[in-house]
């Protein structure tokens, strides 16, 4: 979490009430990606909480990262992270994003996501249940609140 502490309360409130998310695949097998789309579809429908998946990192409050970071993706991940306006939260979805899972030791894997960018919440699971992804986003949004009380 970065950003000034003298922000207006209403910004944090609105961020919590309608967080916009950007989803980034850094080399995952797409399982977690499907589950992220799944939480947007009728069964889980996170638009109930105002969560909207955005097409551009410039619009995002929440960055959902899936997959181990591959060598080719590494510079792009850094660039996308720089593009996300601060303050933001980063959620690493899935075991690969948390710890590279079963891909550890490959020549093309750099490491888990938190080796490259700061991560606020980890959601382990292979893939995590959509319910766990919702829990992860909710836990991440708490970070906006915590910072304000500082």
């Amino acid at each position: 979490m970065q950003g000034g502490s003298r922000r207006l309360k209403i910004f944090d409130w609105s961020r919590r009430k309608s967080p916009w998310a950007f989803h980034l695949n850094t080399g995952s097998c797409n399982n977690c990606d499907i589950e992220i789309v799944d939480v947007l579809t009728p069964r889980f429908d996170v638009e109930r909480f105002g969560i909207l998946l955005q097409g551009s990192p410039r619009h995002a409050d929440v960055l959902l990262v899936t997959g181990p970071v591959t060598r080719q993706v590494l510079p792009r991940l850094k660039r996308v992270y720089e593009q996300v306006p601060k303050p933001n939260v980063v959620v690493a979805v899935g075991t690969c994003a948390t710890s590279t899972g079963c891909y550890e030791g490959s020549y093309n894997i750099v490491g888990p996501v938190d080796r490259v960018i700061p991560v606020d919440v980890f959601v382990p699971g292979c893939p995590p249940r959509p319910q766990a992804i919702i829990d992860g986003v909710v836990a991440a949004l708490e970070k906006f609140k915590v910072e304000r009380s500082d």
Partner: protein, 157 residues
């Protein structure tokens, strides 16, 4: 349907026999040997100089589909298997060639079978087998900063 039998036993297969005969006559002394594993798997061993003719016969005359090409690192040489599927018979004919590791190169078949384009590029990238005459060699899978002369799937030795 023939029962499953042990390795390297030649099955009397009606659908593979004409193919093998044709390859034998086209390739001449470049044809080495032929074996089957079961009623759906045939392995034809040829010298690498004959690969283009062989692919042309399979693809143009027998309507075979190139499934994939597998390359195996055998320490001093590479075994390269061209897996062709003949769908009507449910048969996989694998054309096996080998090339020494020091000067690993094969003739590209991309102009005969366009589908070989990516498969050959991948092998060139991961194992370092040069495909002579490939129209668009270049990086496909490894990252932009991957060193040119390093091949991840090659064993040391």
């Amino acid at each position: 349907m023939l029962p499953l039998t042990a390795n390297s036993l030649v099955h009397t297969l009606s659908n593979i026999a004409p193919l093998v005969e044709k390859l034998r006559s086209v390739l001449g002394d470049r044809f080495q040997k032929y074996s089957t594993r079961n009623e759906r798997r045939a392995y034809v061993y040829i010298r690498k100089e004959g690969i283009r003719e062989c692919v042309r016969v399979l693809f143009d005359q027998f309507g075979a589909r190139l499934s994939t090409i597998s390359a195996v690192d055998r320490n001093f040489k590479f075994d390269v298997l061209y897996h062709f599927t003949i769908d009507q018979d449910g048969l996989v004919a694998s054309i096996c060639v080998s090339t020494p590791k020091q000067t690993a190169s094969l003739d590209s078949v991309t102009d005969i079978v366009p589908a070989a384009n990516w498969i050959e590029r991948e092998i060139q990238e991961l194992l370092g087998i040069k495909f002579v005459g490939h129209p668009t060699p270049g990086k496909l899978l490894t990252s932009d900063d991957w060193p040119e002369d390093e091949y991840p799937l090659r064993r040391i030795g």
